[in-house]
């Protein structure tokens, strides 16, 4: 399987992407994507694919989905101008406020969409995995809303660092299964959810939490998340009088990023920058900067970029943020990097923490640790691009990160020169 594209191929694939032609009928975003699943799951995936073809863009489903987004999720979410941050950074900063969506992150757009789909497909129960817990909470809430039982797999490490979300899942009626295998974080949780699904593919709907996994998940999740970018694009034109010069989003699996970026792909003047977890450094296993430092491979059902050793074993990652602490990434991002449309950079733990505090102090918004990575990169970019208009996907709120943050001192006064 090739992963390097010549200029002609790259241009053609970018255009296909902009024209909405990807993934192709084989679930490919150029070379990336596909469906690498156990034979046991093949019928389930065929049902899912058929179900998506039948429902997803039907008027009826879209009406139901839009009604839930408006009436329950609270969409459209606000677009916030950040005057004090803008002054500090020397750019014009706008924030797309997914933290204001029900349950506190963009994850809910996808969760309620898939829960509605599962209901139409006749599922008897829902399983999901979660890293930061946001997708678990979103799934628990969405399942309650549509009336389906929900079981969430979560790595034991993440259970510890995102304790508030575990409690919330319980309250929302979900069963939370601690995953003690593998790296005990998001990747192990996905493996475990897949196993559970293999054991009971007929009645179970697997509600995946990011734009990763076997086809048609990366496509499905993108379609459910692109409301972020559609709204943001219209709002920034309305409020600011034009498109941004650049848009930033953090990238774990890549769902909030693809949701924000996808509707902007055709706006060639808008630079798009995905921000991965730079962890504690550039060394092996010290970060989760998949696109920046990984190589092509098949992980969890999809051909994409993977953090792996030369034997094809997946490498453990490190990040202060559970939601970015993942060795894989959605295949569409692998393509967007390969064709040069999106740049992927890293932000380190300490930069993210500093950005989180700066946003608290200047705008009174406590953002998620995941999201804070996007701010850190946007701040760096602003230094070299004074006066430009910056759009940041504020993917979630930081309440869930309190156990992690409360172990760190609050810096009473932010050092503006830093």
């Amino acid at each position: 399987m090739k992963a390097v594209l010549n200029t002609g191929e790259a241009q053609a694939l970018l255009q296909a992407s902009i024209d909405g032609e990807l993934p192709d009928e084989r679930g490919r975003f150029g070379p990336f994507g596909g469906r690498y699943v156990p034979e046991t799951l093949v019928p389930a995936f065929e049902r899912l694919e058929k179900g998506i073809a039948e429902h997803l863009h039907s008027e009826d489903f879209q009406k139901e989905f839009r009604a839930q987004l408006r009436g329950w999720v609270g969409r459209p979410t606000a677009l916030t101008f950040a005057p004090r941050l803008s002054e500090r950074w020397g750019t014009e900063v706008w924030l797309k406020r997914e933290d204001l969506a029900h349950t506190g992150a963009h994850k809910i757009n996808n969760a309620i969409g898939q829960a509605l789909l599962a209901k139409r497909l006749g599922a008897k129960r829902i399983i999901a995995e979660t890293g930061a817990g946001q997708h678990g909470v979103a799934s628990a809430a969405a399942c309650a809303r549509v009336g389906l039982p929900c079981r969430v797999y979560m790595g034991a490490v993440d259970i510890k660092r995102q304790a508030p979300n575990v409690d919330r899942m319980h309250r929302l009626g979900a069963e939370v299964i601690p995953v003690e295998t593998g790296d005990k974080t998001l990747r192990a949780a996905i493996d475990e959810a897949m196993r559970e699904w293999v054991a009971d593919p007929a009645g179970t709907y697997y509600l995946i939490g990011s734009a990763v996994g076997p086809h048609p998940y990366p496509y499905l999740v993108r379609e459910l998340q692109l409301v972020i970018g559609q709204e943001a694009r219209a709002q920034i034109i309305e409020y600011a009088g034009g498109l941004p010069d650049v848009a930033f989003a953090c990238v774990g699996g890549g769902s909030n990023a693809i949701g924000l970026f996808y509707p902007l792909l055709g706006d060639s003047d808008v630079e798009l920058i995905g921000v991965e977890a730079g962890g504690i450094g550039d060394g092996l296993g010290e970060n989760a900067a998949t696109l920046a430092t990984g190589t092509p491979g098949v992980l969890q059902g999809s051909y994409s970029i993977v953090l792996q050793d030369e034997h094809g074993n997946v490498r453990e990652t490190q990040s202060i943020s559970a939601g970015l602490d993942y060795s894989g990434v959605g295949p569409e991002h692998a393509l967007l990097q390969a064709v040069g449309r999106v740049t992927y950079v890293g932000a380190r733990d300490d930069e993210a923490l500093q950005a989180l505090e700066e946003l608290c102090e200047t705008e009174g918004i406590l953002t998620a640790l995941e999201t804070a990575h996007a701010y850190a990169a946007a701040k760096r970019w602003s230094k070299d691009n004074p006066g430009k208009r910056v759009l940041i996907g504020n993917s979630g709120r930081g309440d869930k990160d309190m156990p992690t943050l409360s172990r760190l001192p609050v810096r009473t006064k932010y050092d503006a020169s830093a």
Partner: protein
Amino acid sequence: MQAHENITAAIAAANKDGRPALIPFITAGYPQPDEFIATLKSIAEIGDVVELGVPFSDPMADGMTIQRSSFVAIQNGVTLTWIFEQLDKAIGSIDAPLVMMSYLNPLLAFGYEKLAKRARETGVCAFIVPDLPYEESEEIRTALDAEGVGLIQLVTPATPDGRLKTLADASRGFLYAVTITGITGGDDGLPADLADYLQRVSAASQLPVCAGFGIRAATDVANVGEHTAGAIVGSALVEVLERGDDPAEFLRGLR
């Protein structure tokens, strides 16, 4: 003769003896890398075909037992390269044709052409790739084909008839009938309506059909043997290795 035909022949020979072929599975290099070849040899004396698991960091189709063995093997430095090197040393001394079970990514990292060549050289006659459905298999299949190495397809109770035919035709060596919906190492035993299913699979296949998943005891082997050409014993055997018991003795008890 193609390498994968060795497998078909070994199964046929067992059947000729009036018994189902026995296909033991071990995770390569587990529990101790330095015992790998010795274990393999002793197993190959009893098994008609031996299935070797390549350890992988994300064994998403496997239950706890094989997962554990996989992690231990990786920690002990077991890699595909290492496995081939060990097999190099044992060429000629292993009595049964080998099948390699690996998730796709280690194979991809190794390179398909080199893989096919090294497989043929070391007596690996076919591959089982649990996360590679037929639709995604063309590239590796072409490479393996060039060296006569087979790609064994799996079918499950949920596989519809049309697809069953496609998979049966595409398979080489044998056709793997997964007995249960689920991951390896389930404790629930074999399902009640197994006979119908296995007969349906056997009827669709030109190749011998071997059944795997959930086979733990001599009665299981006999049971599936009534409808198929062979039985694959995985988690139960790995548990024996885990306990430090003698695998050969366990396998003899299954025949």
